[in-house]
Homo-oligomer: 133 residues x 2
């Protein structure tokens, strides 16, 4: 059901500074730089194999990413697994014993449809499902 | 140069308990369960697309993973990017401005050759290179 790691988000305080180093790491410019107003963030992403590495800079300290940054600092934020149908996959996971936090997907970058899982069930790794539309 | 995300390590306190939930998430048993004595850990891993998700349980609290677990708790530990030649890739990254912590690769699971990068240059995401042998 889970086919690949769709994206991984890293929280950063200064997107320009982070981009400078990640461009050195990956040896090329980011593939896209975008705002996601619903989430209160500016992002830049690199395609690495079949996965997006997304640098996420919170613009609003009260947003979910902003609160995470204040609480935990920079670094890994979440991992998202690709599925064909997020709603159906969430129902399947719930039947298997994984707690799902959303009944209805929320919108991510580029219309990605996201459903969050309970981090307690993935041992404090914030994990979610992504369906591409 | 970096071709894909080779593996991602999550630290757990109780590998059996973590496996029970990750088997629910991925819908199947782990692909392998192994000790890595040099690192003081027991591991279990799942292939997800082109990437290994590795659950890592420290057996020695003084090991690097054990110290990380004590300091930061469970959750994301590190991301490793696959390259053809870890030593050459590390030299290229150093020329671009990324600090590299090892001159010589150390051994990981299955003979993976690993070189650690300075987490300060990846904004507190512990990052490394893997060469498969």
């Amino acid at each position: 059901m889970i086919r690949r790691i769709h994206h991984i988000n890293f929280l950063v305080r200064d997107l320009d500074a982070a981009l400078e180093k990640y461009e050195q790491l990956f040896g090329r410019p980011a593939d896209a730089r975008e705002f996601l107003p619903d989430r209160g963030v500016e992002t830049a992403r690199f395609r690495v194999g079949e996965t997006w590495i997304v640098l996420v800079m919170p613009l609003d300290p009260d947003s979910v990413p902003g609160q995470h940054l204040q609480r935990e600092g920079e670094g890994f934020f979440l991992i998202s697994y690709e599925v064909d149908d997020a709603t159906a996959a969430a129902q399947t996971l719930a039947r298997r014993g994984i707690r799902v936090l959303d009944d209805v997907p929320r919108a991510g970058l580029r219309g990605w449809r996201l459903i969050d899982l309970d981090p307690a069930d993935t041992f404090d790794v914030v994990s979610q499902l992504t369906e591409e539309t």
